[in-house]
Structure formats: C-alpha cells, structure tokens
C-alpha cells in the first residue's frame, strides 16, 4: 500500500460485499448474492458449536445450489451471548437464536429457498404481533446501546482485511501519516477526553504527551490484552471481532510518540483472539499497512504478539513489560514511569485494547464528536461484560453516564427466576459492589469511584439475594492471595491474613473485633502495597463492609448467613409435614446422606451431608429447607 489512493481502491472494491448487512437493505444489482448469513464466531458461540453450524450451512447451501446467492460470514461477537449460538440473516435481519446444526436444513429449505423465515427459531422479541420482523436496534437489548469500540464486531469477517477497509479501516492511519504532525495527533486525542479503558481511567492523550518528548534509540507502543478480571471478556471480543482497529490505533500511537515497534501482550487463554490477531498482522504486513515506509510517509511500524501465561498481576503495566522481557512478571517501583523507562528500559506507551479500538474513529470524526458522547469528565462509551444472575448475559456497549438500572433492567432483562437484584460487582478483584439502593447511579469513572467501587475494565457481575456478600469478598480475596506475586510484604502477607479473617467469619467463628481488625488491615494494605494489585485488593472487603455490614454482623453475632450461602452456617433438613416419601432426594444425594422408606418422610444425616443442595433442587414438594 503506497498511497491513500490505493487504500481507496480497495475500499471501493470491497464496499459492495457489505451493503446487504443491514435490516431491510436492498441487494446490490450488480451481484448475484441476495442473502448474507452472519454466524457468530466469538468464544461463547464457538464453545456451543457455531463452527458445526457453518459447516452444515455450507453443506445445505451446496445441496440446494445456492452457492452464488447466499454468502456465509463468520463474524465476531453480536453481544447477546445468552442466546448463542446466534445467526443473523440479512437483508431481512432475521435473528436466529440458540441454533443447532439440526435446525439448518429447515432454515435453508424454508427461508433461503422459499423466502419463509422460520419464526420459531427466531429471538422471540424480534417477531412482532403482525408477524413482521423488528429491527434488532429496536429490541430492549440493543436499543439503549451505542457501539463505537464494537462497531465492526458482528458486522465484518475479522479474518478479511478488505472488509475492515470497506468500513473506513486504515483511513485514520492514512490521515495521520499524510496530513498531521505527531503533536497534532496527541492534541486531538487529548481534546477528545478519551480515558484508559483498562480501569484506572488515565487520560490517553496525556499518556502519549508524557512519552513523546523522551529521546531514545528505540521506543515502543504496546497493547495490554491481558484481560485478567474473572468475568470480563470485552477485550477478547474486540480482538476476535475487529483486530485491525487495534493494530491501526497502535500504529497511530507509534507515530504520535515516535515508536517503531509494538507488542500486543495477550492471554494465552484466548486462542481464537490470538489466531485472528496473527492473521490480521500478516494481512496488514502484506498490504504494507505495517512494516517499512507506510503510505510512503517514511514512517516504520511493526507489531508482534507476546503470550501471557496466566498471571493476573501481568495486567499491571510494569509487570506486563517485565513479562514481555521473558521474566517473572513482577511489578517494579514507579517512578520512573514507562513513559521514560518502560519495556527493555526504553520509553513506552501501553494502552488497553478497548482504548485503542476508539482511536481510529476519534481521528476520523474529531474530538468534538467523541466529547459529545457520554458525560463531561468521561467521554465516549464503555463496553461491559454482563454476567452472573442476569437474563441477557453478554457484551454491551453504552454511553458513559447510562445508569446501572438501565444496564441491568432494560438491556440485561433483569434477574431471572423470580429472584431480586441485590448488587452488581464492577472492577473484578480490584473493584467493589454497587448495592440495589444505588442502582440509579450513572456509570462513569467518577461516579463509581465516589460510591467506593470502580469502573474497572468492564466486568459487571449481577448478584441476587442468594449471594452472600461476605462469601463474595472471600472469593475475591482467595483470588488475590493466589495472584499476589509475593514481591512486597503488605500484599503477600496482608491479603493472606485478610482471607484468614474472612474464612473465620464465614465459618461462624468470627468476632466483632475481627471486623474492626479487618478494616484496619484493609487500609494498611491499600496504603503500603507496591502496585495496583495490592493497593486495590481490599476493595471488595471495604465496599461490602460499607454497604452490607449487617451481613458481616449476622455471621459473627448470630452465626447465621442471611443469604444461606455459607456452607458452614447452613444445614439442610426435611420438613416431615411436606415430605411425601417420593425418594427422589435420596436417589440423587451424591453421598447417600438421606434415608427413609417409600411414602414415609425422609431424614438427612447432617454428619454425612456435604450441603450440595441437590436434594433441595430436586424436591417437588418444597419439603427440603435450608437454615
């Protein structure tokens, strides 16, 4: 790729293949293709065999002689993971959900051949009373969303660079290299108000500005794809669905700060993302969009992948760089900051995947456009991975300032199974809980910090009344104890002691003094730890203490777990009045703890019982009680 004109030529050549992918689009008269079938190839849908669906589609399309008329595309994540595997057929916009390979022959024969959409397999909310199909953008899940970082996810084939170029891909890089000076790029990003999406919310433009003037023989622009928070999969989805947007942005960052080499540090647990990113790098090199003298501007930039190996602390910037250097991923003291001394001791900028995914559009549409979205101090959107006790688990992107209520109730569809919303957890092991009483809090960096939680990278786990908040705090502490690298004492020893106190409380042996001691220890760990892992590790404890102190007290003074989740504090028994003696519980008990004769009340031997709750789930008469 020597010039912008060549890029434009590729765009014009490819744009026709994408025109169909819109609700109600009209087929391109110059093409025989009349249907585009988009199948989700994200990790969630691939885990439920979307690959077999693609194979079956090709088989059936061939059998019906439709090869020239129907195009099958494997895209990135559509977001509604709860209904996977998902397949969308355009131009009708028919949203087939929970598709199995067995459904395919019928869908091909009826829909593709005869034009009759198979409505029983559709996402039911899209089918209107008069039988017509509603556009996806009008459904509850999608209507309040705004897809910027995810704009190409679920639209293009991430393994085809031409489709990315057709959607204005690499135009921003072209503009930057041919029309802008490095400091103009930095000023633009600074003016947009973009803040780091990895959790801390540091202004991206400022990060670049601090690095740019530092002279060295080699500088680096790196990408943090070590998405370690359990329950978070935003960055993975961007890399799986739109890897080129990240590469393009890294090259832009490289130009702005004067770096010629980039590394993407990515979790080895994300094989699909790694594969697609490698394909994207190869294609970009082939087109000359990475490599020497890009667009004839004299600017060189190349990207390599480095795999992580399952260490949470490597999400911290200095630890990540140490890990790229091939060593134990331990953080080091800052200053010097990476902007001065980073990877291999050279000036380095490190940004998160989602941050990068916003850059090309900011360059093309301008700082004012980006600033007009979101709130005053948090511009743009944020991607969240919705999980836990919520109907629509999946990936959502909303403007900053959207309230938690809108995300949970409208987009997420509320808590399933007749349960009630108790809290949402953001920020993973570094974050905190937002209780039901604060559900109308607007989600942005500052509001979440003000209520003792944090934005975090975007994991949003919903909990209902059966979740014990002390147990959740213990869960996160187990995580940080495991993942503490051991370099500094406050974190290594402090988190361990904190966990021990939590274990004491959840087993009913805690005292009120323990709660006080724990709180004091939390502040000690926060203030004295070397890196962000330790400094934020007590947050789950502090935020649950703040909002659910009564639950801690109930564990201590009444030896009772209000949510009925702490095993040591609950016992199962059978109400002889309600038990019909159907033997179902006894037959399902994994440890043979239930005895009784047919048609006579059964009894649970509490010494044998492992409190797995299977009896309670199986009882049709509600006779098993947990106290």
């Amino acid at each position: 790729m020597k010039s912008l004109a060549e890029l434009q030529a590729v765009k014009e050549r490819s744009v026709g293949s994408l025109t169909l992918r819109e609700h109600g689009a009209t087929p391109n008269p110059g093409s025989s293709v009349r249907l585009n079938v988009l199948v989700c190839g994200g990790t969630g849908c691939t885990s439920s065999h979307s690959e077999q669906i693609v194979e079956k589609l090709h088989e059936e399309i061939k059998a019906n002689g439709l090869e020239d008329e129907v195009e099958v595309v494997r895209t990135g994540c559509f977001g509604l993971c709860a209904l996977g595997p998902i397949m969308i057929v355009y131009p009708e916009g028919a949203f087939y959900s929970c598709v199995t390979p067995e459904d395919i022959p019928e869908i091909v024969a009826e829909h593709f051949v005869k034009g009759n959409i198979v409505k029983k397999h559709l996402y039911q909310e899209t089918v209107q009373e008069d039988g017509s199909i509603k556009s996806l953008n009008e459904t509850r899940f999608y209507s309040k969303q705004m897809r910027l970082a995810l704009r190409n996810c679920g639209v293009i084939d991430p393994e085809k660079i031409d489709e990315y170029i057709a959607r204005d891909g690499y135009q921003a890089l072209g503009k930057v290299l041919t029309e802008m000076k490095p400091d103009e790029v930095i000023e633009l990003v600074l003016a947009s108000g973009l803040r780091g999406r990895g959790g801390a919310g540091f202004p991206t433009g400022l990060k670049w500005k601090l690095c740019a003037p530092n002279q060295a023989d080699q500088k680096y622009a790196c990408c943090n794809a070590d998405e370690g928070d359990p329950g978070a999969f935003m960055d993975r989805s961007v890399l799986e669905g739109d890897p080129h947007s990240v590469l393009e942005a890294m090259a832009i960052a490289g130009y702005a700060i004067g770096a010629t080499q980039g590394y993407v540090y990515i979790r080895a647990e994300y094989p699909i993302a790694v594969k697609r990113l490698q394909i994207a790098i190869d294609q970009a090199r082939e087109y000359g969009l990475l490599g020497k003298n890009i667009f004839g501007s004299g600017f060189d930039f190349d990207v390599d992948i480095r795999l992580g190996a399952g260490a949470f602390v490597c999400g911290e910037e200095t630890a990540l760089m140490t890990s790229i250097e091939g060593k134990r991923g331990e953080p080091r003291v800052r200053p010097p900051y990476p902007a001065l001394k980073g990877l291999f001791g050279k000036p380095t900028v490190l940004n998160n995947v989602e941050t990068y995914a916003n850059i090309p559009q900011i360059i093309l549409k301008g700082a004012d456009w980006f600033k007009s979205i979101g709130t005053e101090k948090s511009s743009g959107t944020k991607v969240f991975a919705l999980g836990g006790k919520i109907t629509n688990t999946g990936l959502v992107e909303v403007p900053m300032g959207t309230t938690l209520r809108e995300v949970v109730e409208d987009i997420g569809g509320g808590v399933p199974g007749g349960h009630t919303f108790k809290a949402a957890q953001t920020g993973g092991p570094s974050g905190g809980c937002i209780p039901a009483s604060l559900i109308d809090t607007p989600i942005d960096f500052d509001h979440l910090a003000a209520i003792g939680s944090m934005m975090g990278s975007g994991g949003l786990i919903v909990m209902d009344e059966t979740t014990c908040m002390v147990d959740i705090a213990k869960f996160f502490l187990e995580f940080t104890v495991d993942e503490s690298c051991g370099k500094c004492t406050p974190c290594r020893v402090g988190t361990k002691r904190l966990l021990e106190i939590l274990e004491k409380i959840t087993s009913g042996k805690g005292t009120l003094e323990d709660i006080d001691r724990m709180e004091e220890l939390c502040y000690y760990i926060k203030e004295n730890s070397l890196c962000a892992l330790g400094q934020t590790a007590p947050n789950p404890v502090l935020s649950t203490l703040k909002h659910y102190r009564d639950e801690y007290i109930a564990h201590v003074t009444e030896h009772r777990c209000p949510a009925g989740a702490c095993k040591a504090l609950t016992n199962y028994s059978i109400d002889p009045e309600k038990c019909k003696g159907c033997t179902l519980c006894a037959r399902n008990c994994p440890v043979g703890a239930i005895t009784g004769k047919v048609r006579e009340p059964h009894v649970i031997d509490t010494d044998k019982c492992i409190k797995c709750g299977v009896c309670m789930e199986n009882c049709k008469f509600g006779a098993v009680v947990k106290k």
Binding site: G44, A232, F233, A268, G326, G387, G388
Partner: protein, 166 residues
C-alpha cells in the same frame, strides 16, 4: 494455586527431543525468549519436566534458576503431567456466582482427586481455572478441548461416563 512438582519418571521420545531442539534453536539470541520457549515446550510434552527446563536453560544460555523462576510463576505452566482426559472447571466470578463450585465439588467426590491432581490410572486430571471467557454459558467446565456450559452438578456424572467409556 500452589504448584505441584511431579516425581514421575520423565519419558522423552526422539521426536519430542528433536522438536524441542528446533524450538530452542529458533529462539536463540532473541530478547525475552524464556516464556515462548516454555510455551512451546509445554505444547510438545504436555507439561514441563525438570529435564526439559534444564535443556531450555542450557540452550538459551540462561540459568536454570531463571527458567524455574518463570515456570513456577505463571499458572499456565504445569510441572505435573495431565491425565488422558484433562478437566478444567471455571471458577471465574460469573461461573462462581452460578454455582461452579458445586460442579467442582461433585467432580472431586466422583473422581476422588483434588484440583491439580491426576487419577492413579492416568485417565483424569482436574484443575480449577480462572475465567475462560465463556461467561454467557456459565457455569462452564472443559474436558480436553470440549466446552460444557450451563451445567448443574448432576451433569457431571453423564459427562464423566462419556469419557470413561472411551
């Protein structure tokens, strides 16, 4: 998670040894080569026996202490062999909230082994992992490369039976 170190004898085939030599050769002189070398060695052997780590240290010209420091730091690197069927239960937040701990309990009870252990007959090994990113399917476990989602503890019996029969 505490690392367990295998005391089982190390078996090396000429083919595996040749592959490892090639990996070391291709990484010689590259900055930060230890981690990529360990990743590829684990692909070849399934785990990282001490003998393999020694070979990497000698080949790359770094101390064994440095290699061992790296292999024990990262949870992806395993110092114990895996069973013929490797089971991994996700204990990420989304799965945990949906009861994956109960799925793990059931596996422990059924197999008679704890996480990071292998059954005596070498058929099954078990591990508890952090988020694999399939939160939409929570709770999730994997057997080898197959993902099982939306589990209840009772599903474990059926799934184990499938693999035991093979």
């Amino acid at each position: 998670m505490q690392k367990r170190i295998s005391h089982l004898p190390f078996h090396d085939t000429p083919e595996q040894a040749q592959k490892l030599d090639a990996v070391i050769e291709s990484l010689k002189g590259q900055a930060g080569a230890v981690m990529p070398a360990l990743h590829q060695a684990q692909d070849i052997y399934g785990y990282l026996p001490l003998e393999v780590q020694k070979k990497i240290a000698e080949g790359l010209g770094v101390s064994l202490e440095e290699v061992f420091g790296v292999s024990t730091f990262y949870s992806q690197f395993s110092l114990t062999p895996k069973g013929r069927n490797h089971i991994s239960v996700c204990l990420g937040t989304a799965c945990y909230v949906k009861g994956s701990d109960k799925v793990l309990d059931r596996l422990v009870a059924k197999l008679g082994i704890h996480p990071e252990e292998c059954t005596e007959d070498g058929e099954f090994s078990l591990t508890a992992c952090r988020c694999i990113g399939a939160c939409g399917l929570a709770p999730v476990m994997t057997v080898n490369d197959e993902v099982y989602g939306r589990l209840v503890p009772e599903d474990v019996d059926k799934i184990l039976a499938q693999y035991a029969a093979k």
